[in-house]
């Protein structure tokens, strides 16, 4: 038995596809969340204002566009993750991190939205890092 890095028998089968599906669906969902937040800010930018001084206080509509763009990228990347390609997982992890960071910076505007999106981002990163290779291993056997 040649024991290279991947030399162990994968214990997963149905689970593998399950976690990839979870990550993909969660990314699409988060993309929609971003889009909802973005659209509401773009259309009613006066409704989402910050009274206090803050370094990252852009126009609410600027934040709205950031959200919208992030949302579209997440949805596309989420669809890519279903394919199980390594690059798609890397992009997924990167995009989920950027989404979490942007939302942390934006938190003062609508804290609960921000918290929800970051929670799901973390679950995506977890699924893609810890279970990301399950699908590959499954197809190798």
């Amino acid at each position: 038995m040649s024991m290279d890095q991947t030399g162990m028998e994968p214990e997963t089968s149905g689970w593998a596809a399950g976690w990839i599906a979870f990550a993909g669906i969660a990314m699409i969902m988060i993309g929609i969340f971003h889009a909802i937040a973005g659209l509401s800010e773009v259309f009613d930018s006066d409704s989402f204002v910050l009274t206090q001084e803050y370094v990252l206080k852009f126009n609410a509509s600027t934040w709205g566009w950031i959200h919208l763009i992030a949302g579209v990228v997440l949805i596309l990347a989420g669809v890519g993750v279903f394919g199980g390609a390594t690059w798609a997982r890397m992009v997924g992890i990167l995009v989920a991190m950027l989404s979490a960071i942007a939302n942390f910076a934006w938190l003062l505007y609508v804290p609960l939205w921000s918290i929800l999106i970051i929670f799901v981002d973390i679950s995506i990163i977890w699924a893609l890092t810890v279970h990301g290779r399950d699908l590959e291993r499954m197809s190798e056997t």
């Binding site: 162990m8 990252l56 938190l107 918290i115």
Partner: protein, 133 residues
């Protein structure tokens, strides 16, 4: 490296990557909160009396320094070295404790910082052996 024969390297690198990424993210979160406070200290004030009520810019510097340290330690965790894991857990506890003490300033930021710190501790302790594998 006698790791017994359970769950080998594939999982190992996955957990190390998760823990490392969470630490990098935690570091960036701290830095954002730190910069916000250093640049606009008047915007982040606590009106009530509170033992840990320092100048807001002091808290800002605490966040910034913790953030930088956690950020770079995150890269160490990717490699899965035992010392890096230990340092990672200690730093995550420090981060969570600082965020807890700072909570009256911006509760939601604090909650998130603590949540991410716990996820780091969880990955490094409950799956620490996998990380180092």
């Amino acid at each position: 490296m006698s790791m017994s024969d359970r769950e080998p390297s594939m999982w190992a690198s996955g957990w190390a990557m998760f823990a490392g990424l969470m630490m990098i993210m935690l570091g960036i979160f701290h830095a954002i909160a730190g910069f916000a406070e250093i640049i606009d200290p008047d915007s982040f004030v606590v009106t009530q009396k509170y033992v840990f009520k320092f100048d807001t810019s002091t808290w800002g510097w605490i966040h910034l320094i913790v953030g930088i340290v956690v950020f770079f330690a995150g890269f160490g965790v990717f490699r899965g070295a035992v010392w890096a894991r230990t340092v990672g857990v200690i730093l995550a506890v420090v981060s969570a404790a600082a965020a807890f003490a700072w909570l009256p300033y911006v509760p939601f930021w604090s909650l998130l910082l603590i949540f991410v710190a716990i996820s780091v501790i969880w990955a490094l302790t409950a799956h620490g052996r996998d990380v180092s594998g």
